[in-house]
Amino acid sequence: MIIPFTAHGWLNTAHGVLFGGGYIVLLVLALVAVVWLRPTELTPSGLQLGEREVGVTVAAATAAAWVAVTTGTWGIYPWFRAAGPGSPAAVLLAHPSLAFWARWVIGSKLWVAWASVGCVTLAALAGYRWRRRLAAEGVLRRRLVGLLAAALLGATYAGAVGALLAKLAPVR
C-alpha cells in the first residue's frame, strides 16, 4: 500500500531528517571542535581558527536544536495527539501491545529532546561567557564536552524514538 505524501508528512520529515539530523551533525562537529581546542596542538593562528569554529558550531547546533524542538512540540506533537480515530496516538492506543508508545515513549521523547536543548543552550551560553579562557583551561573544555555529550545522548534517543514512531504510526 502506498502512503502518499501530505503536508503533515513533509513537515514531519523536515523536523526529523533536516532539523533533527542537522542538529545531531552540528552537535558532533561542536564536540570535535571543543575536544580539539588544545593549545599544545595548535599554532597561534590555529588557535584563533579553533575558537571561531567552537563558537560557530555550538551556536549553529543551538539554533538547529530550537528549530527542531519547536516544530516537534508545537507542530508535530498536536497532530500526533489529535482527537479522532485517525491520529497516530489513537491508532497506537487501540492496540494493547503498542499503547505504551503513545502513553510513555512519545512523552519521554519530548522531555528528553527538551533536556537536550537545555544542555546545548547552556553549553552555548557558557562557551560564550568563557570564550577567552576556553583554550587555556582544560577543566572548562571538559565541562563543555560533558554538556555537549549529554545533549548528543538526548538528541540520539529522541531521534531513534522519532524514527521508530514514524515507522510504526506515521503522521499524515
Binding site: 500500500m1 502506498i2 502512503i3 502518499p4 505524501f5 508528512g9 520529515t13 531528517v17 539530523g21 545531531i24 551533525v25 558532533v28 562537529l29 570535535v32 580539539w36 588544545r38 599544545t40 596542538e41 595548535l42 599554532t43 593562528s45 590555529g46 581558527l49 579553533g50 569554529e53 491508532v91 497506537l92 492496540h95 503498542l98 531513534a160 524514527a163 521508530l164 514514524a166 515507522k167 510504526l168 504510526a169 506515521p170
Partner: protein, 171 residues
C-alpha cells in the same frame, strides 16, 4: 493504521537509520578534520595526533559504509524488487508510481555505490599521502574534492531512501 515492526523493517532501519546515517555523519566529521589538517594551523604534535584520529575515523567510516551498501544492495534491494503482491516493487508499479521504482530506487543504488567507492579512494589517498597532507595543499584539495562528491552522492541517496521508506515501507 499501524505499520507493525517486522524483521524486514528492522533490517531496513539498521541499513538507513543506523549504518547509512552513521556513514554520512562520519563522512562530515572526517571531512572537517581533513579541512583543518594544515601545518599552518597545527603544531607537529597536533598533525600527528589529528592524523591518528583521522585514520581511525576513516577506517570506521569505511566499515560502516561498506556494511550499509552491502546490506542495501544484496538484502534490502532483493526484498524491495521481489515480484510478489506485497513487495514495494509491485505496489509502486500497480499504483502508477512506477517512476519511483524505476528512477528513484535504481538511482539510489547507483549513487550509493559512487559515494562508497569515492570515499574509499579518498581514504586510500589519506593513507598514501599521510603527513604530506598537512603541507601539500594540492593533495588535500584532491582528497577533499573526492570527499565532496562522495558526501553529495551519499546525502542524495539518503534522502531518496527516507522518501521511499515513507512512501512504501518495506514489511
Amino acid at each position: 493504521m499501524v505499520v507493525d515492526f517486522t524483521w524486514r523493517g528492522w533490517w531496513t532501519s539498521l541499513h538507513g537509520v543506523v549504518l547509512g546515517a552513521t556513514f554520512l555523519l562520519l563522512l562530515i566529521v572526517t571531512f572537517t578534520a581533513l579541512v583543518r589538517l594544515q601545518s599552518t594551523a597545527l603544531t607537529p604534535e597536533g598533525v600527528q595526533v589529528r592524523l591518528r584520529w583521522l585514520k581511525r575515523g576513516l577506517l570506521l567510516m569505511m566499515a560502516v559504509g561498506w556494511a550499509a551498501i552491502a546490506l542495501g544492495t544484496f538484502v534490502i534491494d532483493g526484498w524491495f524488487n521481489k515480484h510478489t503482491a506485497a513487495s514495494p516493487y509491485t505496489i509502486l508499479n500497480a499504483s502508477g508510481w512506477w517512476a519511483w521504482q524505476e528512477r528513484v530506487m535504481e538511482w539510489k543504488e547507483r549513487i550509493s555505490w559512487v559515494s562508497v567507492v569515492l570515499a574509499s579512494v579518498a581514504v586510500y589517498l589519506v593513507f598514501y599521502y599521510d603527513r604530506q597532507l598537512a603541507d601539500d595543499r594540492r593533495a588535500r584539495s584532491l582528497v577533499l574534492s573526492l570527499y565532496t562528491v562522495a558526501l553529495s552522492a551519499g546525502s542524495i541517496a539518503g534522502v531518496m531512501g527516507v522518501l521511499l521508506a515513507k512512501l512504501v515501507p518495506l514489511r
